[in-house]
């Protein structure tokens, strides 16, 4: 029997379907609790993954949440083959949103999703190409 140095999780998130919103992050959270990762780290991982999962549902038309849990850190990769982001640097700005003027006047589009994910994680990478999709990699240390 080989030494289990990491545990993997794979979750398909369907797009435009709020019925199962949050399932991937809830499943990951349970795994982390079973393994005994510290509570403070679990909180950051759950929140970061949740924000990414919601983005998959609302913006990306669905995608994948993959996680690998190590004894001292967890890597979460959220990927999709959706429309992609034209200007990643702009998208990462706090307050910048794709919501229209009218939507923002109504209170939508706080523009904090991606910045929140970055703030939760210890290392944050985002790659995106128009027409190809987006991949976000978050590292959480503990």
């Amino acid at each position: 029997m080989t030494e289990a140095k990491s545990v993997k999780m794979n979750f398909e998130v369907p797009g435009q379907n709020f019925d199962r919103a949050g399932e991937a992050s809830a499943k990951l959270k349970k795994m982390l609790q079973h393994i005994g990762i510290p509570a403070a780290a679990i909180r950051r991982i759950a929140i970061g993954t949740y924000e990414g999962e919601i983005n998959l549902i609302i913006h990306a038309g669905g995608g994948k949440v993959e996680a690998e849990i190590f004894p001292d850190h967890t890597v979460v990769v959220i990927s999709d083959t959706g429309p992609g982001i034209a200007d990643v640097k702009q998208a990462m700005q706090e307050g910048w949103s794709t919501a229209s003027e009218e939507a923002r006047a109504m209170g939508f589009g706080a523009g904090m999703g991606l910045p929140n994910m970055m703030n939760c994680s210890d290392k944050f990478d985002i790659h995106s190409h128009l027409g190809e999709g987006t991949t976000i990699t978050m590292n959480f240390d503990y």
């Binding site: 289990a4 140095k5 079973h34 005994g36 509570a39 759950a46 949740y50």
Partner: protein, 463 residues
């Protein structure tokens, strides 16, 4: 992890049928059926009393103390909370209730509603002065919710307000006061709480939030109500003078009362253990970051809906509302003015002198060692794949997920699953049929081996 967990919830083995009702309802999956009887895993029980509610045979109950124990003390004080008054229609005055309690053997009665007003002021101040980023702040009044957070949402411990529950604060105050006034040692004074639920009892035995509980024991609302009703005819015209809090103390008995008395508007009240779980889950996902305060009770309806009350919770609510309405008739319109006028306790304790930080209670970890836990996790997933996923409870565990965990932890066997067991029996039966076809070399022709037609014995055996 051999910590001693002292619990208030008990299963009466003589009455228990070993069915699946309580098993499936436990919010922390703390119940298993073993040898035909339900048993509670001490490390997982949060004393919420859901099993008490669900048991159709009344086999689950909350332990409470014996009234004989009053004899151990020179002076006995009883804490009467709104949930007690709510058992009686408004026409039975607080004075009559106090007299009945006196007749039961208590030397003094203290109204918990009075303490609630001090606590409400502390909560209001704390919320107003809070500059932390993590919101909402969470109420510390329901011990079952505190335990639920310790076990399932330890990351939210930081958001629990470091404030005493009213009954604890009341006990600290009244015991000191009685010791001074009657020139007794505190150890000679018994302070008793009339509890609507097992969690308040458990918190007395083994508090998670206060350094040294001054409450010496508890009786259930149900028991005291029964005794009072029995003695009603002997009451005569006795009616004690009472000192109660205002309507803003009385309202704590039902859902929403805590935030109403603290004057918190940017707050919500969540009631019921499943509802509490749901709300806490959302809070742990940071979905309510602008909410100031969460009032959270494990019982629907608030404390009047506790599992150890006598009266139906809706009847109790209507009783409480009537009492409050009558009190409001004689109170100033302004809430703060009303509360300040009734807060007559000199030297009421400050929470900061008595509360202790709440510790997490890790329950979900498969092993103290992370690598071992990872291995067990993978084994658990494998075992789960082999189970039918019916969550039927026949194995004595509430779900296939729990059985998988129990198997991996050595607490159960995969043949506890009756579906797997039946599958194994079929396999063995086929094996025996095959074996029975082997003719020993010393035997003669087949006529020596007549027996029932295998197609009759095993449907599908011919396939």
């Amino acid at each position: 992890m051999a910590d001693q967990y002292l619990h208030s919830v008990r299963i009466l083995r003589d009455v228990c049928h070993g069915c699946t009702n309580c098993l499936k309802s436990c919010p922390t999956e703390a119940i298993r059926v073993r040898n035909g009887k339900a048993m509670i895993l001490p490390s997982r029980c949060i004393d919420c009393g859901t099993c008490i509610r669900r048991c159709t045979y009344h086999a689950a109950t909350a332990g409470s103390d014996n009234m004989e124990m009053l004899k151990q003390y020179k002076y006995n004080i009883v804490l009467a909370a709104p949930s007690l008054y709510a058992q009686f229609p408004e026409k039975i005055s607080a004075g009559v209730i106090w007299q009945s309690l006196h007749d039961l053997g208590f030397d003094e009665i203290f109204d918990v509603g009075l303490a609630s007003e001090y606590i409400a002021m502390e909560i209001a101040d704390y919320v107003k002065n809070y500059t932390g980023k993590r919101k909402p702040l969470i109420s510390a009044t329901c011990p079952a919710v505190l335990r639920l957070i310790q076990v399932k949402f330890p990351e939210l411990i930081k958001q629990i307000v470091p404030i005493l529950p009213p009954a604890e604060a009341a006990a600290i105050y009244i015991k000191s006061k009685a010791a001074r006034e009657h020139k007794l040692a505190k150890a000679d004074i018994g302070v008793w709480f009339i509890a609507p639920c097992p969690s308040k009892g458990a918190n007395i035995r083994q508090p998670v939030d206060v350094i040294h509980p001054e409450i010496d024991g508890y009786f259930s609302v149900k028991e005291i109500y029964t005794r009072i009703m029995k003695n009603m005819s002997n009451l005569g015209s006795g009616k004690r003078n009472v000192t109660t809090g205002s309507s803003y103390g009385m309202c704590w008995g039902s859902a929403g009362g805590e935030i109403a008395s603290a004057g918190l508007v940017n707050a919500i009240s969540v009631n019921g253990i499943e509802e509490a779980y749901e709300a806490l889950e959302q809070i742990s996902m940071n979905k309510m970051p602008t909410l100031d305060y969460l009032e959270c009770n494990a019982c629907q309806g608030g404390c009047i809906g506790g599992p150890m009350v006598a009266e139906n919770k809706f009847v109790a609510e209507s009783n409480l509302k009537r009492r409050i309405a009558v009190m409001r008739e004689h109170e100033p319109a302004d809430r703060e003015e009303t509360m300040l006028a009734s807060m007559v306790c000199k030297g009421f304790p400050l929470s900061q002198d008595y509360t202790i930080p709440i510790k997490p209670r890790p329950m979900m970890q498969l092993d103290d060692d992370i690598i071992e836990a990872m291995k067990k996790f993978e084994q658990m997933e494998d075992v789960l794949q082999s189970l039918p996923g019916l969550d039927c409870g026949a194995c004595g565990a509430p779900s296939c997920q729990c059985l998988a965990e129990d198997i991996v932890q050595g607490r159960a066997h995969d043949m506890d699953c009756i579906y797997k067991l039946r599958g194994q029996v079929r396999k063995l039966a086929y094996g025996m049929i095959e074996l029975s076809k082997q003719i020993p070399l010393t035997s003669g022709p087949e006529e020596n081996l007549s027996g029932p037609d295998e197609k009759e014995v095993l449907p599908g055996a011919g396939k």
